[in-house]
């Protein structure tokens, strides 16, 4: 279970740069939460702070996984606990092939958890299966990680990693942006097939589009670093129709 308590976060070493201004959120095992919000509301920051991106600092509040604070943990330690962030803009790593990278990541997690590392043979089998399932062009995974990948290919590659690493808490940061409808469906199918009572998701998105394919249990509206409304899947449809206007205080004043 993930619990976010009164989370405040700023850009590291920059004064008055608070982006998250008291986020409270509780994600139980097996739940899919969607976080929606206008541009600049702090959605991506929230996703990144959860994963421990060093560009941000937590100034108040806490993040708990199964009751234990992870606020001081490094990103790799969080990954070992089962957190996963599907990046909006995955980094390109020249000369490193996806197989090699994922094997190292898989091994690192196993080692940290005191589990046995998967043999090369078994891992390759798993990898090949997932490559097919996610629908990545097999030639692509022979290339350098994300290098020269199109936007859609990068997102599929993120889904491949999600499938291989089988995290217990997956955060998808605008994974739908830059995807065509087919790719969107593949991402959604990936998530849906991985839904289980043991695994939760936070799906960060600007548009409701992705939620046509992934039905969330709970939808939150994040505005100006705070969750301003929480509801069921129907809330996403309201936003789709009316936009975020009514949540924006400035708009209310001028409108």
């Amino acid at each position: 279970m993930l619990e976010i308590q009164n989370l405040h976060a700023s850009v590291l070493d920059i004064e008055n740069s608070e982006i998250l201004k008291g986020v409270d959120l509780k994600v139980n095992k097996g739940e899919v939460h969607a976080i929606m919000g206008p541009n600049g509301s702090g959605k991506s920051t929230l996703a990144n702070v959860l994963m421990g991106r060093p560009d941000y600092e937590i100034t108040d509040g806490d993040i708990l996984v199964d009751g234990e604070s992870i606020a001081e943990l490094r990103p790799d330690q969080r990954a070992h606990l089962g957190l996963f962030l599907a990046f909006q803009y995955p980094a390109e790593i020249p000369g490193v092939r996806p197989w090699q990278f994922l094997k190292a990541a898989h091994d690192a997690k196993a080692e940290a958890r005191g589990e046995e590392k998967m043999s090369v043979r078994n891992f390759t089998k798993l990898f090949d299966e997932k490559v097919e399932a996610v629908g990545i062009n097999p030639d692509l995974v022979k290339r350098s990680l994300n290098e020269g990948f199109s936007g859609g290919e990068k997102k599929r590659n993120e889904m491949l990693q999600l499938e291989v690493l089988q995290p217990s808490m997956a955060i998808l940061d605008e994974t739908d942006s830059g995807l065509d409808v087919d790719a969107l469906r593949i991402v959604a199918e990936g998530v849906n097939s991985m839904r289980s009572p043991e695994r939760s998701f936070i799906v960060v998105t600007h548009y409701q589009r992705l939620l046509n394919y992934i039905t969330p249990d709970i939808v939150h509206i994040l505005v100006d670093g705070k969750i301003v409304q929480t509801g069921g899947p129907e809330l996403a449809l309201v936003v789709e129709k009316d936009g975020y206007r009514e949540y924006l205080p400035a708009a209310g004043a001028t409108g």
Partner: protein, 487 residues
């Protein structure tokens, strides 16, 4: 595995506890410090050399004295070091007896063995590196190895330089100094005068050497200079892959290493020369370390190919430009390099490709990694001579910066004297980005693993040129060499 395909010689060049070092309390037979004609004569007589070789050494010595009195050491490289007192160096050191050497791996410092394991060095190799094996070569004297006999059946000669002088004087006489003459440069001249030992290989016409030939060099004696000389001749249509590994023990004082390597690839021959250079780089504070001034050059005749691959992680100073003289038509020269400068290391390295023959082709891929306060310079020269119709060169020079106190420099010289030449030069400078690090760490890799993966990935174009076993070692070496540069 690949182990069986490698014949390994070891030249133990001089020992204390830096990671690759160990103290070998071997009683050493030292000539007095300093350089003089008498010392040159002493070295030659200790080795029982023929008169012609002594004469050659003396000519070199006299030329070196002249150079010392006039221009001195070359000063064009981007390296900075206090002047070297050539009279404060031992020029000859040979162990009297190896009785003090460890008898088995059980007698060797477990920490050192752990390091070897970390480096992925095979067990047998670890024993050798630790000075256990009887065929190990301490300081400047080499001992023969067993597989020589098998090679002998193919007519392949692989032995120490001294042995070659005794057994194959005609071959040595014919090719010694034919690619790097004793007048070549200050350090090569010094080497010619006082070279201690080294390796010699000869592959007869049409023979493909079935195994990789390998030499491990070590420096043991404190305050001794190291001057080995390697000569490899691939006769017409022959092929050989040669590996060279270098380690030196921890020393607070600097050690001078001035080696010379000559490669001769006759018509249709191919020589692949791979180096992992891991001389002691000095302490993180910049104390001690090897001054590595090396002259390496190959001559490629008609349709011949010479390929240099190097991973340079050690030495306080690296001054090294493995070159190819493409004198035969259709000859090919290659240079693949990863050079790392961490802490206070300085590397000024690159290559020279001299195109003389028609349709000659050269490829240069240089990757420089700078970390800590390290300074890394690529210095390359591509020369297209008037007769070199249709010469082609492709140069790629990449620099990677780790941290914000290091430096990367690129100094390419291009000289084209034939209008049909085609040259390409690409260069890039990049940093290990925070985005890359976060991405890998978010998948569970530690910061160190993440750095290592980014850096080895970046170096992959070069590392994949290495024979498999060496490639693994190179990857590990980059990792170990960068420890402390990260975080």
């Amino acid at each position: 595995m690949t182990n069986q395909k490698t014949i390994s010689r070891e030249t133990d060049l001089s020992g204390q506890e830096y990671q690759w070092g160990f103290v070998t309390d071997v009683e050493t037979d030292l000539a007095p410090k300093g350089l003089s004609e008498d010392i040159v004569r002493l070295i030659s007589s200790k080795k029982d050399e023929p008169a012609w070789l002594l004469e050659w050494r003396l000519k070199a010595y006299r030329h070196w004295v002249q150079l010392s009195d006039s221009e001195g050491e070359p000063d064009w490289a981007m390296i900075d070091y206090p002047s070297i007192d050539y009279q404060d160096i031992y020029y000859y050191a040979a162990p009297k007896a190896a009785t003090e050497a460890p008898k088995s791996l059980d007698d060797v410092d477990p920490e050192m063995l752990a390091t070897f394991e970390k480096l992925g060095i095979p067990l047998q190799e670890r024993a050798k590196l630790a000075g256990v094996a009887v065929d190990a070569v301490f300081d400047s004297v080499s001992v023969a190895t067993t597989m020589e006999e098998q090679l002998g059946e193919l007519g392949i000669i692989f032995c120490s330089f001294s042995e070659a002088v005794k057994k194959y004087p005609e071959l040595v006489k014919k090719y010694l100094g034919s690619v790097v003459p004793y007048t070549d440069n200050f350090f090569a001249t010094l080497n010619a005068a006082v070279f201690s030992d080294g390796s010699f290989a000869y592959i007869p016409p049409g023979v493909r050497c079935p195994i990789e030939l390998m030499t491990y060099f070590r420096i043991n004696t404190e305050g001794s200079g190291q001057f080995e000389r390697t000569l490899i001749v691939a006769d017409k249509g022959a092929y050989v892959s040669y590996l060279e590994g270098c380690t030196a023990p921890f020393r607070k004082s600097h050690q001078l290493h001035a080696a010379t390597v000559e490669l001769v690839a006759l018509d249709d021959a191919e020589i692949k020369y791979s180096t992992i250079q891991n001389w002691f780089p000095g302490t993180p504070e910049g104390e001690g370390g090897v001054y590595n001034f090396v002259t390496k050059r190959g001559r490629a005749d008609k349709n011949a190919k010479i390929s240099w691959t190097q991973v340079e992680t050690g030495s306080a100073i690296t001054w090294k430009y493995p070159s190819v003289i493409l004198r035969g038509d259709n000859s090919v020269g290659e240079f693949f390099s990863v050079a790392l400068a961490n802490n206070h290391q300085q590397a000024d390295t690159g290559t020279k490709m001299i195109h003389i023959g028609k349709n000659t082709k050269s490829t240069i891929v240089s990757k420089g990694i700078s970390a800590g306060q390290g300074n890394n310079t690529y210095r390359g020269q591509v020369q297209i001579m008037p007769g070199a119709e249709n010469a082609v060169n492709h140069t790629q020079c990449d620099s990677l910066l780790v941290g914000d106190q290091c430096g990367a420099h690129t100094v390419p010289y291009i000289e084209v004297r034939n209008p049909t030449a085609r040259l390409e030069h690409e260069a890039s400078t990049s940093k290990v980005s925070d985005d890359q690090l976060f991405y890998l760490m978010a998948r569970g890799l530690s910061e160190e693993e993440a750095h290592h993966m980014i850096i080895t990935g970046w170096s992959r174009d070069v590392i994949r040129e290495l024979p498999f076993e060496f490639a693994l070692e190179a990857g590990q070496l980059l990792k170990v060499s960068l420890e402390g540069a990260v975080g």
